[in-house]
Subunit: 559 residues, 2 copies
């Protein structure tokens, strides 16, 4: 490998607003097969000169112009080795952007923001209709204006509070039962460093507990890879990011190893602003191993596609379709010639037909025209959905730690094989969610082979979020579930250890055929702790599961 | 099975000082093959009329006369089904005593004391030389007299404080690093419900934390089975006991299923006074499954024998030997004709010789004469030790939970096969200790086959006790370890999950041959977390162990 020093391109540790330009120039110059090696140190990316670009970014708020700090386009066989450097940011931007690249390796770097896009506060006291909270104005400068709590940004703008999460001060986990239950609030000033939140608190936040005050928009992922292939990230720490942690969209083949999300020193709870690793419409194989997730304000890993609604049968082999979820508008390469497309019945979500794309053309932002090599299935009607089977990856996730985070743990809905093993899950929502819908999020099709084995689930699913009926939830949204008891297929949950609170079942499954729950060990404070709860399933196997009572104060068992 | 109602023997729920006598009479009358079924309810064993008996009780303080509440001798094929009853005691006694019985099944009962033999206190404030603590005098009546903290017993006597354990008020686990570090203290009264403990505190107890104040003598096990065979205990809850939890000595074949130790409602921390299940000089197979241990003030499970010292070569086939540890004095059947005996070199603990007992005779309390069918090995010298190989059981322990307790978790030192699997360990000391000595405790020989697999070790070994060098400690005490690198043999630690604090190694091994540490998953906050630490070992195999960093605030990894 051809090793080049970033220093030779005048990229040195320190403070500069020229880093983005210098790095972009260097990446354009270095030949394929190079490793660009950065001198270790802190790179303080002063505001200004971030690289502007335009792209539709999955599961994020859309913005005409986006900004990237380390920006590569059309690169091949390049390694960026930061040798343990810290990158410090001040703007709303993506630290890393790679568009249409192949064989990229990003390694040995940590990322943080001087002034993050979330804040922390401590609950002083509360009642059913108000909570007085303490905010460090040095760390999180704010003001209250006309009932709004506004956080100052470094560019002089202000960012309003949009959500609050309560964390237990001792366990630093989401307060049990408190998930997404914080009400809408108005703010009023109380005194220096103290703000009153006014609202209807069904469960008033507890004195001493820590609140994460969510503000800032979900625009820029910490890393954005679009239409890349064979992308590797290793030994990368994200202490913060303004949107999704790392977003891979329309990528083929991704390996994430030793990627860590964790609050930087001095912060108690939060790291990333939203999800951790987000894979949208990817293909090939995804390997995620030896990664850790702590303090994310949304799901650590989400692997999904984008399904679309059929708006019009425009010819014997042609359809006019629409993107439904605004965060999927404008995907200009939702399908390419040769891609395999399946139809989904909107009532049952049952797949039918398998067609090959001949032509794909966007019609503005929200619609497109698609033509197939074959005639359309005769049963297809307007309102059904399409799923791109080519843009579905196989997934191996292993040896990862999902620590204290908001939301669910791992979301996956892909027809290729998925293996999840040797995890430690401490998710406050469902540790694993296998959804499926073509009526609300338009993100997910059926899974055909999922193996979940040798994991430890430690007191998961203690708080409420959407689709969290079990520690593992197989929870498709099907309008007529009785008509599709085999939406998901061949899901095996074996040889896992569940440390349960005795409330949520270990496995909740709906509309699944070939479901196996075998050889699991469950420790629970409840002798009648629910293990498997199922609806509309067929071919369900359960054997050799062992429930042992968790010894706790007050426990008594007498047969 | 012949089902008899205890009510027909005038044994009814309520309060009585006649229960011991009535039960003893009933057990004498009922024929073999009977199930004595007790009406469910609370049986309040008022003081007086407990059954006196005399016996040497392993690992306990010796007393000429012991007392039992439910007392059976020479019973065969009897089931005692309490149908969920609660037994409440007031004296220093053993709730259950079985001597020379076979095929006994004890089930569906819980045990507690009105006034326990331990107390709890809350730390008000402390400094380096004193701690003011709050004791509820209603719950734990006490007085301070001449510098001693004395707890009142129901019989009018008083019981002095002998030890203190500090527990974290939030986790209710032993305060990390605090194990057996509490100093000797004197007491002085401060005011109603408050006592000052004066001492040299290297780590002053923390305000708000809970102290368990240990008093009471270790005389009466909660259950005592001596020279029994095929003993089964199931669905038995011990909320308290005055000594060891359940002691099986010189028993052949024991099954413990759904045995739980847990504090009764209203107590914060402690359940049993000392160990949980203690097996001394047992044989046959021991099966311990689906049991839970929380709040014990000593090791949950201890399986060991008693070795003895050779005092004199009294003939070509005869030895005079001595019991060394006072808690083993007077074992009148330490060996029986036909038993196989091995010698242990006192310097290397290497076994040699294998002899058959012809004659065994106690010489007072501390010594005995033993004669073998064969001549003594020529290398045997005075000072070497003897081990009874016949009185060694094989052990299967599975699906058990070791929650917050003082001390180590599972202690085992037996030459028969041992399998430990599907546990959840939260031990504050070593989760598993495989000791070995014939110089101090005189309890333990070598292990020849131990398999530890598919367990979860959750933050174990955070506090200091004797022999706790690793989460799993193979730690024989051999005066010249370099001369015996194969004391323990064939120990396999595989497919376990360790959630580590990054300090103690997962496995510490000394003087072991054929040691395998493979396929384990380790989550640790330290990238250089020690996995295996070994001394004087041979044939050590390590492969396919995976270390993942525990995501925690402040964690940063950059390769």
């Amino acid at each position: 490998m051809n090793i080049l020093s970033a220093a030779d391109f005048n990229i040195l540790p320190g403070s500069s607003n020229c880093y983005p330009t210098l790095i972009q120039q260097a990446l354009k110059q270095i030949p394929e097969g190079s490793c660009l090696r950065f001198l270790p140190g802190t790179y303080n990316f002063l505001p200004g000169n971030a690289i502007p670009f335009s792209l539709r970014v999955s599961n994020s708020e859309q913005q005409d112009t986006l900004y990237g700090a380390v920006f590569g386009e059309g690169l091949h066989n390049i390694t960026l080795d930061w040798q343990g450097s810290q990158l410090l940011f001040h703007e709303d931007l993506s630290p890393f952007v790679f568009l249409g690249c192949s064989n990229i390796q990003l390694q040995n770097v940590s990322v943080d923001w001087e002034l993050p896009f979330s804040a922390e506060a401590t609950v002083a006291h509360s009642s059913e209709n108000r909570a007085d909270i303490i905010i460090d104005p040095q760390r999180y400068p704010y003001r209250v204006h006309r009932g709004e709590l506004l956080f100052a940004r470094e560019d002089g703008t202000e960012s309003p509070l949009f959500g609050v999460m309560e964390f237990d001060v001792h366990t630093r986990k989401v307060r049990p039962e408190a998930g997404d239950t914080f009400p809408k609030v108005t703010a009023s000033p109380v005194g220096p460093g103290m703000v009153r939140l006014n609202g209807e608190f069904s469960t008033p936040p507890k004195s001493g507990n820590i609140l994460v005050l969510r503000h800032g928009k979900r625009i820029h992922p910490g890393l954005l890879a679009d239409h890349c292939s064979q992308f590797q990230v290793s030994a990368v720490t994200m202490h913060h990011c303004c949107g999704l942690g790392m977003l891979f969209q329309f990528c083929r083949g991704v390996t994430a190893s030793q990627v860590v999300f964790s609050p930087s020193t001095g912060r108690e709870i939060f790291s990333g602003h939203d999800d951790g690793l987000h894979f949208s419409n990817c293909s090939g194989h995804l390997l995620i191993e030896h990664c850790g997730f702590w303090g994310l304000m949304d799901d650590p890993i989400n692997v999904h596609g984008t399904s679309v609604r059929i708006l019009e049968i425009s010819g014997p082999s042609s359809l006019r379709c629409g993107f439904i979820h605004p965060q999927s508008y404008g995907f200009s390469k939702w399908a390419c010639p040769g891609d395999q497309i399946s139809c989904l019945d909107r009532e049952t979500l049952a797949p039918f037909g398998n067609m090959t794309v001949e032509h794909f053309q966007l019609l503005g932002e929200k619609e497109f025209l698609i033509t197939f090599s074959e005639p359309l299935p005769s049963t297809l009607v307007v309102g059904d959905a399409l799923e791109n089977l080519t843009n579905t990856p196989s997934v191996t996730c292993c040896y990862n730690h999902f620590g204290s985070c908001r939301g669910r743990g791992m979301l996956v809905s892909k027809p290729q094989p998925v293996e999840i093993h040797h995890y430690l899950f401490e998710s406050s929502g469902s540790a694993i969610l296998i959804p499926g819908d073509a009526n609300q999020w338009y993100e997910s099709g059926a899974c055909h082979q999922v193996s979940i084995h040798d994991n430890v689930f430690w007191e998961c699913c203690t708080s409420q979020y959407q689709f969290c009926s079990g520690v593992i939830s197989i929870e498709p949204e099907i309008p007529t579930p009785e008509k599709n008891t085999g939406f998901h297929e061949n899901i095996s949950v074996s040889n896992n250890t569940f440390i349960s609170q005795g409330k949520s079942p270990c496995l909740y499954a709906k509309c699944c055929t070939g479901l196996s729950f075998c050889g699991n060990t469950i420790f629970s404070p409840q002798p009648d702790s629910p293990l498997l709860q199922q609806e509309y399933c067929s071919e369900v196997y359960q054997e050799e599961n062992h429930l042992t009572l968790l010894a706790t104060p007050g426990l008594s068992i007498q047969g």
